[in-house]
Structures are given as C-alpha cells and as structure tokens.
Symmetry: C2
Subunit: 172 residues, 2 copies
C-alpha cells in the first residue's frame, strides 16, 4: 500500500519544500506532476481546447456567439450554395448535428435554403442580408478571442495551425 509520505518522496527535491504542508496548504496546482500525461498530445489537446472554449464563452457574454453558429455561418458565407452535407464534412461533424443549427439560423432569418437544381433531396445554403450583418458582429467578437490565441502562439501561429490541420485531416 502506498503511503502519502512515499508519494511525496518520489518527487525530486526542489525549493517547493517550503510551501509544502497539508494538501490544502499547497499552491494551486504548481506542484502537481502530470507524469505520463506530460507527453500526451491528446491530453494537451483536450486541455487547450477546453480552456479556449471556456474563455470564448466567458469573454463574450453573448449567448448567440455559439462556436457552432459562427463556424456554420462562416462556411456558408465563404461557400454560397453549400449543402448541409458539405458543411457536415467541412466541420467534421455528423450531418444530424447540423439540422437543429440550420433550423435555428433559418428561424432567425440568418440563412435561406434554396433549391439545388438537379437534386431535390438537398438544398443550397446562403446567408441573408441580416445573416451577413450578424456574422460581422459575431466575427468581431470571435476576433477578440482569437487575437489572444494569436498572441499566445506568437511567431509559431502558422506552424500551430498547420499541425492542427494535419491532425484533423490525417486522423480520419
């Protein structure tokens, strides 16, 4: 059976000893060792995405700035006439997850559904004028958030983006 003392002794000795004491007396999480997790990309990917998501939500009290809405509207703006299936593939999500988003966007008159000539099963998506205005608003908010990420990435931004792109592309 491992004792607490054993656990403590496994740490390499360092200056933190002065702050040591009962667990509740320790500094927030400075001393916690990640162990095997330390070198796991998947783990750090989750931490980073989670932190980004929380910051995104926190910074814009705007409940309408949902990551989902913003991404879908951007895709439609850049690809007028895009179909739900194409949006699904571009955003790496199942088609069924798009139905409610597109319904909401449609109800808010932000997008319109146009017939696809030659395929009655599908429809083509386009932003309405209102939708374009709304997207400008959302983009302004999102930019504030991503600017922080830009600062954090600094000169490595292009490299980070390339790596993330490779991960999502090759892992399918």
């Amino acid at each position: 059976m491992p004792s607490l003392a054993k656990g403590r002794n496994e740490r390499p000795p360092n200056g933190d000893e002065t702050a040591a004491g009962t667990p509740s007396e320790r500094a927030p999480n400075t001393e916690i060792r990640l162990g095997a997790l330390e070198h796991y990309i998947a783990f750090h990917l989750r931490l980073a995405q989670n932190a980004s998501f929380k910051a995104f939500k926190r910074e814009s009290g705007d409940p309408e700035l949902r990551p989902g809405w913003f991404a879908v509207m951007s895709l439609i703006e850049s690809n007028p006439g895009i179909t739900p299936m194409m949006v699904s593939r571009a955003s790496g999500r199942d088609k069924s997850t798009l139905t409610p988003i597109l319904r909401d966007l449609s109800h808010h008159d932000l997008i319109e559904r146009l017939p696809v000539p030659g395929d009655k099963r599908s429809y083509a998506l386009a932003l309405t004028t209102t939708g374009r205005e709304k997207l400008r608003e959302l983009a302004a908010h999102a930019a504030i958030h991503d600017r922080k990420l830009d600062q954090i990435a600094g000169s490595k931004k292009a490299e980070l983006l390339a790596l993330l792109r490779r991960i999502s592309t090759l892992l399918n």
Copy 2:
C-alpha cells in the same frame, strides 16, 4: 438576394472546374473554402481535438478506456495522496465533474480514498494494486493512439506540446 450562380462565381477560377457539377457530384470536401475560419486557432483546435477524440474512441473498442478515467488515474499515479480538488485544477475541470468518476473508479476497486491528516473535509487518493494494473492496460491502449499523433507531429512534437500548454495555462 444572392443567387447560387453568384456564389459560384465568387470562387477564384481554378482547375477544379472539371470536377464541378451538382453539389453531390463534387469531391468530398476538397473544394470547400474555410474563409475567415482558415486562420482561426480556436476553430482548428476544435477540429483537431474532435478528430483525436473520435479516433481514440474508434481505435480502442474498449469502453473502459475513457479519456476521463485515464487522465484521472494517471494523475493519481503520479501524485499519490492528491485530493479531488487538486485533480480538478490539474485537469482544468470543475470539481463536481470528478465526483462520479472517482465514485466509479472506487467501485471498481481501482482507487482508494485515504484520510488526509489535518483536514477532515478532504481525502487522499491512491491507486490500488488492481488500479495500477488497469492503468498499465489503459496506458498501452492510449499509447497506440498517441503514437499516431506523435507521427503526425513528427519533429514538431515538443513545439506543439509547448504551444498547447501555453494555451491552457494562459487562457485561465
């Protein structure tokens, strides 16, 4: 009102014209333009994390290899005597999300809860012998997954990890 034809025309002319036709005749998602999203770190972070998560689940049919369990058990292994609050902070999640995980791990006799001398509100976590064995299994599976990520990151792995760490650290 924007027409579909207008939308198509907005694309810069390129060799893809040969593959163009009705949307359903197009290649999977090659032609979809990300537009503003192209340079958003947050967006690519979500794509990458999602792809990683799906691959993780797909590759190990093992329903017990939940990212949550693995991370928590690893943290306990590397920090015997760690408290739930410390795990919460180290994994960037609210303390309330840990309760059910710790309960499950406890029910499976993978961890034990020991008293913390000097603080009756909390308890110290440690892996049981069974827990250590189980963690070895899970780690073997997880390693297979992360090896793929390692390959994808290649020589940039250290840099990627450093960037992800910076993101989760500075965004709080």
